[in-house]
């Protein structure tokens, strides 16, 4: 669903930017609307938890103290474990790639390749659409063929597609390359999560994944 949102946004942004010349900040109204829908959705989903006010006073202070001590211990265990850092390093660069690409590709096409804004805005949608399809379609094959090999393969493919995007000055080939880049980029987030849940011992999993 995250990828679906990434797909829809560039359409709205391009429409706002090209129709209402000079007042592109109206796009933020769209974001405000989404935020409001989000608040309503959270309130509806968690309405049961919101009603619990009275806590049972039989718990006692001793239990609460031991819970916070074990939480600190879990955090320290998480911070001491090397796989957490290695996987985080991978995710660090992965999101760097994804967000840099999707954020800067339109600006690049407009300034460095002399694209026109109404046409070029949809390339970002193509990238996000590729990510959406990649997440949906490629999750199963990745799991079947082995996650390590497949992710390494996707990294190589993404490198090749990025080089095509960079070095071939044709607009259509760039657009196609970017869409396929998004497609192979899609499953990597979920794959990393599933590898992470297999690598970390159970008691530090929530802390590690959140960290």
């Amino acid at each position: 669903m995250y990828a679906l949102g990434c797909l829809v946004s560039p359409f709205v942004a391009t429409a706002v930017a090209s129709r209402v010349s000079g007042r592109w900040t109206l796009f933020y109204l769209f974001l405000v609307g989404i935020g409001a829908i989000n608040i309503v959705a959270v309130l509806v989903m968690f309405r049961d938890s919101l009603r619990i006010h009275a806590r049972p006073s039989t718990a006692g202070d001793g239990e609460i103290e031991s819970r916070s001590k074990s939480a600190t211990k879990d955090v320290i265990d998480t911070l001491k474990s090397p796989p957490v850092y290695l996987l985080s390093l991978f995710y660090f660069f992965m999101l760097g790639v994804g967000i840099t690409a999707s954020g800067w590709v339109v600006e690049y096409l407009v300034s460095a390749r002399n694209g026109k804004l109404p046409d070029v805005g949809y390339v970002s949608a193509g990238l996000s659409g590729g990510m959406f399809l990649g997440r949906v379609l490629l999750a199963e094959p990745t799991h079947v063929f082995g996650e390590r090999k497949m992710t390494m393969g996707y990294c190589v493919l993404i490198l090749a597609l990025q080089l095509i995007f960079w070095l071939v000055p044709n607009f259509v080939s760039s657009t196609v390359a970017i869409c396929f880049l998004g497609f192979f980029f899609g499953p990597m987030f979920a794959t990393g999560m599933s590898v992470g849940s297999k690598l970390f011992p159970k008691h530090i999993q929530p802390t590690a994944l959140g960290m």
């Binding site: 390093l89 390590r148 992710t151």
Partner: protein
Amino acid sequence: MFVLAQAGGSLFPALTGIIASKAGVKVMQPILVGLIVAMGIAWALVPKVEKRNE
């Protein structure tokens, strides 16, 4: 991992922007290539998952 990943997701576009304001937007491409290579190397470093008997 989310915290560190989001840090990367915010750091690199900002870095690209700073470099691009000095050297022009076309510098985004080599930066992206470098990031993808770093990503591949980082993935190669992730330890193997032993098969758990589930």
